[in-house]
């Protein structure tokens, strides 16, 4: 009995192989994505580097977690991808099409329909004078014009049910619903667009613990049932582990480590990933290297050359002061760190450092 089930499963995977992720353009790809903000007074030369030279890919039916502290630029990335901000430099390709070139109203609407957003705070994301159906019906009217009046209402009921709410909720007002129900409506609103990608900016951080699990399960369900990809933005590695296929760790506007979820979490390479992990792990068996860390966000106003994590990094070496580390492959992951791969050795071998220095120059 056990043998047979095993063999069918093998057959299943074998069949799924060629139809699965073949070599093609990912759903969304960002290259050298950069966003700077001018801060200070009118004549100030201070520039805040919110996102700097960031590479990112999201494949179809994939949940990618973007993890980092507050102030690391995670939300700016989501806003760049949603075209709320225009990038200072770099380009976003959606299905191979440069997003910057989408200019006509039709193209912009198409992109907004393909890439939807769910916001952090379900308590302020809804207009209190409208019923819950308002946003969903409006999205349907704008983006799916082929639907008639009644079809729109039926579709609104369908998305409402697909996020686990009763269709009666559509006639309610925001104040009549709990935080978890509102966040589900947020997802329903996004789903009404039939998007291929949902950008979820800390969708559970404002919710009570008991309903967080429901929203996390909903995200996994959307990937599995509706074939949607998600960019899940969070500061919590534990919930990222629960939902995500891949993890991108962000620090001070840059990706510092990227790789498959379990690999990154079981064997973190970047010191910052280790710090994040030690913050959620049990303190009784935690790494003591970070015991003095106060969780202060990095300064990203006019950052010079050098690693931005070096002030908090217990492993920093001289090279970190002068050369900005770039993402490099290290085993199954990518990491932007001069010392990663040498951590745990008594002393970092000098040749490795000179090698990096010459490459950086």
């Amino acid at each position: 009995m056990a043998d047979r089930s095993q063999s069918t499963r093998d057959d299943g995977t074998a069949e799924a192989g060629p139809a699965g992720p073949a070599k093609h353009e990912p759903l969304l790809r960002a290259e050298g994505l950069t966003r700077h903000f001018r801060v200070g007074g009118m004549f100030s030369k201070e520039v805040l580097h919110a996102v700097d030279d960031l590479e990112l890919t999201i494949n179809e039916r994939e949940i990618v977690a973007l993890v980092g502290e507050s102030g690391s630029g995670k939300s700016t990335v989501a806003r760049l991808l949603a075209r709320i901000y225009t990038p200072t430099a770099g380009e976003i390709y959606y299905r191979g099409r440069p997003v910057r070139e989408l200019r006509s109203r039709r193209d912009v609407l198409w992109y907004r329909g393909e890439v939807a957003m769910v916001f952090q705070d379900p308590f302020s994301a809804f207009n209190p004078v409208h019923r819950m159906s308002h946003g969903i019906i409006r999205n349907l009217a704008l983006h799916r014009r082929e639907l008639g009046r009644e079809e729109r209402w039926r579709e609104a009921e369908r998305v409402c049910e697909s996020v686990g709410l009763s269709k009666r909720m559509l006639t309610r007002y925001a104040h009549e619903m709990s935080g978890g129900e509102r966040q589900r409506i947020g997802f329903a609103q996004a789903l009404a667009l039939q998007p291929k990608l949902i950008l979820a900016d800390e969708p559970v951080s404002m919710l009570d613990v008991s309903i967080r699990a429901g929203i996390l399960n909903l995200m996994v369900g959307l990937r599995d049932r509706e074939d949607v990809s998600l960019l899940y933005i969070t500061h919590d590695l534990a919930s990222a582990r629960y939902v995500a296929d891949r993890i991108l760790v962000m620090y001070a506007g840059q990706i510092v480590e990227a790789g498959p979820t379990e690999t990154v979490l079981s064997d973190p390479q970047h010191p910052y990933t280790r710090l994040l992990l030690s913050a959620v792990a049990d303190p009784r068996d935690a790494d003591t290297d970070f015991s003095a860390d106060t969780g202060e966000p990095p300064r990203v106003i006019n950052p010079g050359e050098g690693c931005r994590f070096r002030w908090r990094c217990p492993y920093a070496i001289d090279t970190c002061e002068t050369v900005t580390p770039r993402l490099r492959p290290l085993g199954p992951v990518q990491v932007a760190c001069h010392v990663a791969g040498h951590l745990g050795e008594e002393e970092i071998a000098a040749p490795a450092v000179t090698e990096i220095r010459s490459r950086g120059a």
Binding site: D208, V209, S210, R212, D236, Y242, A279, G295
Partner: protein, 327 residues
């Protein structure tokens, strides 16, 4: 055992609204010994903050203490006058509010706010005020140079630390904290919690710590009260509740969290939401959401039953048959 620092006995708090009197806290009793770290856990709307405000005597209408006593160092705080309370507040016990963004005055520097609090209780020279302010800031790990800073110039974590520094100006015996870490991200939260624990160990004050995060509680508290719908549903030492949570609600709260280590398992959370306290209820208040509810749970309201060294409000831990007949 010496007399506890704080003893709450049968505390009941109601919000008297036009349509209904909502009993937000019902018959809550517990005690806090000197230097003890007690956690209060529950979802939003379970009455934890109301309970804390009741203990600190900070309730404002329509909230009112309907019954019970709050004995702090031998005095019943419920019966004290506003003037008597004013002498005790901040000097003997202090409160750290949930959101430091709103709790600090945006128009005043940190030094000016510390000075206000100090001058309210003691006659001090300006050098003494500066010294005391600088020393408490240093205690919480902020450079005393920030005394001149305004709240908007500090990060969220630093503001929360400044609030804690302010609560320690007079080295009170009891500090009550209402979700001080909830608005912070994981690294800042971890660092703040270790700081609180360290200060508590060196200065010896007791802490009542309100949170919805079971994991924060598990690491830092000595004892935990789990609240649901205005009642204490479980009261136990931290090790016990963590290794063997008795109440199905405590178990639900623990299982609602994903972990970074160990096998990945499906999260269930707790379906539904806490009951509307304005509606009359019969039986166990958790019964509509309870995965192990029995028919009798809808009829008989459980009391707090002693199980080993813990107390739990659940019919699983009593002779249900006997109750069913009488109820």
């Amino acid at each position: 055992m010496p007399d506890p620092l704080l003893e709450v006995d049968g505390l009941t708090i109601e919000y008297l609204t036009d349509t209904a009197d909502v009993r937000a806290v019902e018959d809550v009793s517990f005690s806090v010994g000197a230097g003890e770290f007690v956690g209060v856990v529950g979802e939003s709307g379970c009455g934890k903050s109301t309970m804390l405000f009741g203990v600190a005597q900070l309730l404002s209408p329509p909230g009112e203490v309907m019954a019970g006593r709050v004995i702090f160092r031998g005095q019943d705080m419920v019966r004290l006058s506003a003037g008597e309370l004013r002498h005790m507040r901040w000097r003997d016990y202090s409160v750290v509010m949930q959101s430091a963004m709103n709790a600090l005055n945006p128009m005043k520097s940190i030094a000016a706010q510390f000075k206000d609090a100090l001058q309210a209780h003691e006659k001090l020279s300006s050098t003494e005020i500066h010294e005391r302010s600088a020393s408490v800031l240093e205690m919480v790990g902020i450079d005393p140079a920030h005394l001149k800073s305004f709240p908007h110039q500090l990060s969220g974590g630093m503001r929360q630390r400044a609030m804690i520094a302010m609560a320690l100006l007079f080295t009170p015996q009891l500090v009550m904290m209402d979700e001080p870490t909830s608005a912070l991200d994981v690294v800042a939260q971890r660092s703040l919690m270790s700081k609180i624990r360290e200060l508590q160990a060196t200065l010896g004050f007791a802490v009542i710590f309100v949170t919805h995060d079971m994991h924060v509680v598990s690491r830092y508290c000595d004892r935990v009260l789990v609240m649901y719908a205005g009642q204490v549903v479980e009261s136990a030492a931290t090790e016990n509740i963590f290794e063997r949570p008795l109440h199905p609600y405590s178990r639900g709260l623990m299982d609602a969290f994903p972990t970074v280590t160990g096998p990945r398992r499906e999260l269930v959370g707790i379906p539904g939401s806490p009951p509307d306290l304005a509606e009359p209820m019969s039986g166990c208040r958790f019964q509509p959401r309870c995965p192990v509810a029995m028919p009798v749970c809808a009829e008989v309201e459980p009391e707090l039953y002693a199980v080993d060294s813990s107390e739990v409000r659940c019919l699983l831990y009593t002779d249900v048959n006997g109750l069913g007949e009488t109820g």
